[in-house]
Symmetry: C2
Amino acid sequence: MNTIQLETVLRDVRDALEQDDVQRARQLLEQLQLADRAETIGDLNLEEQTRVLPSLPAEDAADVLEYLDEDEAAQLAATLPAKVLAQLLDEMYPDDAADILLDLKPAQRAQTLALMQTTAQVQPLLAYEDETAGGRMTSDVPVLRRWMTAAQAISYLRGLHPESESQHYLYAVDRDRRLLGVVGLRDLIVAMPETTIEEIMNPHIISAPVDAEQAELAQLISRHGLSSLPVVDAAGRLVGVITHDDLLEVIEDEATSDLYALASMSADSDLDVDSPLRVMVKRRLPWLLINLGTAIFAAWVISIFEGTLQKLALLAVFQSVVAGMGGNAGTQALVIFVRGLALGQVQPRSAIRAVAREVAVGMINGVAVGVAAGIITYLWKGQPYLGVLIGIALFGNMLIAGVAGALVPLTLRALRMDPALASAVFVTTVTDAVGFALFLGLATAFLPLLL
Amino acid sequence: MNTIQLETVLRDVRDALEQDDVQRARQLLEQLQLADRAETIGDLNLEEQTRVLPSLPAEDAADVLEYLDEDEAAQLAATLPAKVLAQLLDEMYPDDAADILLDLKPAQRAQTLALMQTTAQVQPLLAYEDETAGGRMTSDVPVLRRWMTAAQAISYLRGLHPESESQHYLYAVDRDRRLLGVVGLRDLIVAMPETTIEEIMNPHIISAPVDAEQAELAQLISRHGLSSLPVVDAAGRLVGVITHDDLLEVIEDEATSDLYALASMSADSDLDVDSPLRVMVKRRLPWLLINLGTAIFAAWVISIFEGTLQKLALLAVFQSVVAGMGGNAGTQALVIFVRGLALGQVQPRSAIRAVAREVAVGMINGVAVGVAAGIITYLWKGQPYLGVLIGIALFGNMLIAGVAGALVPLTLRALRMDPALASAVFVTTVTDAVGFALFLGLATAFLPLLL
């Protein structure tokens, strides 16, 4: 359905609610595809949402709640009566239900949990933080034993609750739930009925520890192209599985986090265009104030050369070209390294070669941009020495920019920190300070030639 | 296996190859997991790779070729004898084989295709561009008919080539291959044997046109959390399926493209830390030269106020603070909007609200940063009027920055262009020019107060 049609449905739903015709609102919403339905409900105000959601079949309402933004879902869940909410959460996969429960106030959480039928599956998941393997996994995992036959495994699957999360890979475990192997549903179907799981399972399993962080998960998934990731506790016991949809989310959220961190914002991927004003300011202002600090530092570097600037104001026209171009070149290198680290492409042995390549790139691009800027400056202002000076300063700053862009994320990673975090601030501080110092320093040294 | 162990294996493989002991090299590589094996082979030079790859079982060698970077795989494939290459490509999924064939010279491509056994499956895929639905899909798709029973469908699956790509969703089509519904493997297993496909299939299918571009695919996948995406031609006929691993790649490549575009680089996601020097320069230098153009434009804006700067060189110390902070604030807004557009969160009806929110964020952050900068300036230089002037200029520039950061990507999208492309250049050009003009313009107007 296109936007204009959705717009119409939204208006009709609103009209129906205004006339207190909740049934009509429900009918209108039921016609939509899940994504459209959730979005339309997301566009209603909280009061309207609270009225319309309980009117939907519990299963559909649960789907909508899963689909909404974390913030929106939390707000809506908080306004629903505990009994209604418990019904909806029972319809959701345990991992999604746990995410919503974790956003409730403790009293409401306890009350809702007590009314739920799936408490046993959901309760253990409340112990894990949202952005770790434990927080992303579902604990509702059917497991196989290695002595089962394919036919037994299939009839075991038939006996499971039809609503349990659809998993395309099944894990074989020993009596202590330690992972032995993985079997794809397709292999199970294709196998002769009396084949044992041991014969068809693949014993090479990639698993994640339950406390693994999102960046680590994203690397595992990317590197091995996984479509299912088993999660194990410290003793190697299977405690859950991260299924396809959650793997996609890990990859997306990690990319968003890196992008935000590089733009000097809080790296929480739950910040988005729809975030409320308060959240927007809270996630962005502190970083702007840090940036202000580094900008003042760069201003202090300039102030060292105030005497030179007094003698030749023309320098003030070109100083930002040198600093800014260093910033651009540094950001290019930075982004390539941060992305390479996130996707697991940078290994220690290749890192040295990659940094050396940045030195070469910095020199080549530095010469090209330096010569171009020098010629433009000469043609514009007719001062050959000024052109030479800008060219040299640009070359030097772009070379340093490339090296800083490569080394800052590598160093952060070596210190076991997020390579994207604050690295843009570091790199532009370097390129600003070096750019101003190099250009104005050279100008001070050769001032007689310029006057 | 950790990096140090891999380092040892790499050295041993190299030693074995030096002593012409290809068998030993093969044995060493065979012990490794696929990802490690591919990476170790990727670290050999081309001559070593050409010797060791044909010694591996064709299936393993094919896996390695699939795993390597596109550039690396293309280079290696080009050096292999056509007969060896044809064998490897026969072992690969048709879509991956097509990607490699497309990177060969036409003569070698024709020669290799002629020697392959899977020519019929691969040939049609050569017509599609790499970063479209057609280029990402596999055409080796088992299809069901709606009158089949679950038991018939399962025995049909048993009869398929065991090497065909493992798909967890199967599509039911009519006699013209038009899509009717989708069935998960799990549903097939759980269904009573005599149930018909029509009874268990879900008729609500999300599909992509064969010429859909990567950004469009990424949005569909994110919005609906897909784990399989059928691809249809203009007549609605099923021509292929994008399977899980390729969906992950679409999401990753699209995130990389956006990140690169925002860092003012060529948006090709195949640029990475390991790219050769020539590629690095080619993808980065043109953008640096564009940035140089905008930096010179900003310098020209400053030059308008050269007279003012001559009278008060102190202004040169602070001009970059105003311009730079605008750039930071603009980039924050830009990244949030670009990401929101990429993930399909920004709908026309929510866009206006989101832009209005940016105005508010710009005002709040502008006041906070403006006041902070004003106070710092006053404390540092003891000039109250200079502090006020910087505060006002910062407020104005940050407000404009937020609006520009939001409007530039929205405008590009409305013009059906990539919202990330060149948008960082636009936004920083605005914030630089406005920042310098506002600060130096105000200083010129109120110069008597400052001297």
